[in-house]
Amino acid sequence: MAHQTSRQNTEREPIIAISGLRKRYRLGQIGSGTLQGDIKEWRERRQIERSGEVDGAAPKRDDDFYALDGLDLTVYKGEALGIIGKNGAGKSTLLKILSRITAPTEGEIDLYGRVASMLEVGTGFNGEMTGRENIYLNGAILGMSRREIDEKMEDIIEFSEVRDFIDTPVKRYSSGMYVKLGFSVAAHLDSEIMIMDEVLAVGDMEFQHKCLDRMRQAAKQEHRTVLYVSHNMSTIKRLCDRCIVMDAGKIVFDGDVDAAVALYLGGGNTLLQTHYEYDDGYRPYDEYLRLNRRLNIDTLDILGKDAPTFAADETVELELSCTALRPLAQVGFRFELWSQDGTKIGTMLSRGFVDLHEGVNKIHMRMDLSHLTTGQYSADLVAFFHDEEGNEDILDGVYPGVVFDVVVELDEKNYLDWHHNYWGAIRLHDVDIEISE
């Protein structure tokens, strides 16, 4: 892979050295909020210290919470480091400490370069001021001198694609324009270290790609160091050549990007399991079925997988276990699919029906995912049958029945980095194209 050669070319010169980093937060109310309470707390602390119960260290309290709990990390010049992990794993805290927004509780960090942090784009933008005025202000906040900004003004305006509106107050900007302008300022900082926290989540696709490419260029050609936090695995893969996975304030993995992403997707989400028991889940038809229950959906297993992460061409093998309270003929199943943003995107029907005998029935299912794109899906599972008049009658339903991830690797056929926001979750049939004579 390309990144390995570039890594060898750069001398491994450390630019960020973190050792034993910890950050403590007090859970619940922070401080007592009143002077009296604080004095009381201070006296108690002094008493503990004097009685020698603790040796030097601050007394450990029950409501203390370590957002970062002993972090060691060395980042080298020219690296593009991805940081992934669940919400609350400590990613943002780490970036905040590196950007000097808040100080660590313990530990040391050495930074051998200026830091440009983009924890948010357009920080300090003021709606009443024009785009140009905001470039000056934002640039100065980020540490640029007036002369530096003057020199880069043209580049910044060019990159931002909002030249026509540059002398308009930014309160008239669309949110996309706002982000573009904000990113452009930050991207033109002369800093050795760039820190980004999902700033690319907004803005249109084309601009996102432009930003990522700009970051790549910064790392690969200008040998700057990029730290990038995102929940969007495809941008991580696109930008980074090294990736750490964080969990509960610690680094649990450090190394290859693909391995890190796989680890995160596999173990990151508690919803992502391969065995479901529907004892006390949400069963929306229970009220309706109260007087006439004929079937109970009990368990569902995803066969042959450690984690419910599938490629687009993969077939999902499922085994459903359900209890019929009496023999049932012509029972069908359907999976109603939801995308992660809560849109119902479609329904998969069972091909034909099965007859169930009284007692426990095991049903083998094969699910074809070929039209789904990269993303997480949840499927509500509903069992039904058709009565003599052909009316559908619900037998049981479990919400959600199964949750799974689809990861489509980019290749010749899947050449587009798919985004649900823009194109929906379903990729319809391809269109044949050819040059006509």
């Binding site: 950007s99 000097r100 920080t123 007036r146």
Partner: protein, 279 residues
């Protein structure tokens, strides 16, 4: 590479921090400009308010304290006395009140990007100084007018003291302001206290009356111990030729100002490191 920043749980030394504020001087200028642009945007009279508001309050003081209560201004024309005093107090009061809200008002920006936080109070102070400078033009015009008329005789030699007295006043005001801003992050009560506390403080300072009008006694001692009294009296002594200068209270006031400034910067430095976690 020469650039190196060390981050640890220890507070950095103050000197380094002040150097950084200097590096961000362009930001200070831009913040100052921004404040002016935003304050007078969509106002009909615009920056004229800088003159109008002290003028109106001076007229009010003149009527209430001068005409109705009949407080003497030691021969200085009342309008000039009150205008000069209001301008001087305005400089001090803005240094305190504008800065007291530093952390709360900027929590959003402070939580997202690092820059030396002291740039904000410094720029607030600059805003106050510029406003004061504009008001001084009117005051000086009035001084000139009354000098020609022969009703005012400034101590011309003492004008050399004016910059020093202004520095004294600013250091004191900013010191108090940033101490308040540091404490406000934890004790929001102070925010409420500041707004009316400054009014009370004004009445405890010889602004709407000259110090000489207070009879000898405890009340006078209290007013003289008020650290703002000394620079106010010095400024009026130089500008208007009437003021009570006292070396002991001046000395005390200077010490208080320095202590406030040093404590303020130390507290500010401590708070700026972790206030994001408490706000």
């Amino acid at each position: 590479m020469t650039y190196h920043v060390h981050i640890s749980s220890e507070t950095e030394c103050v000197g380094l921090n002040l150097g950084e504020v200097w590096q961000y001087r362009d930001l200070i200028v831009l913040l100052t400009k921004k404040t002016f642009t935003l304050t007078y945007k969509q106002t009909v009279l615009g920056p004229a308010w800088i003159i109008i508001s002290p003028l109106l309050s001076s007229i009010a003081y003149m009527l209430v304290f001068g005409v109705i209560a009949g407080i003497s201004t030691n021969g200085v024309p009342q309008i000039l006395f009150y205008l000069a005093s209001t301008a001087i107090w305005g400089l001090f009061a803005s240094a305190v009140t504008d800065n007291a809200a530093t952390f709360i008002a900027n929590a959003n920006v402070f939580g997202k990007v690092y820059f030396p936080r002291l740039t904000v109070p410094v720029s607030n102070l600059l805003v106050g100084l510029i406003r004061f400078g504009i008001q001084m033009i009117l005051v000086l015009a009035l001084v000139a007018f009354f000098v020609v008329q022969g009703t005012v005789s400034p101590n011309w030699l003492m004008w050399l003291i004016i910059p020093l007295a202004l520095v004294h006043l600013c250091v004191l005001g900013m010191g108090v302001g940033i101490i308040l801003s540091s404490l406000t992050t934890k004790y929001r009560d102070l925010q409420i206290l500041v707004s009316f506390g400054m009014q009370l403080w004004m009445f405890g300072t010889p602004i709407v009356y000259p110090l000489s009008q207070i009879p000898e006694g405890i009340l006078r001692t209290v007013v003289m111990l008020n650290p703002v009294t000394a620079p106010v009296e010095w400024l009026r002594f130089a500008l208007l030729g009437s003021g009570t200068i006292d070396p002991i209270t001046t000395g005390i006031s200077i010490v208080v100002a320095l202590v406030c400034a040093v404590c303020g910067i130390l507290m500010f430095n401590r708070v700026e490191r972790t206030f994001v976690d408490t706000v």
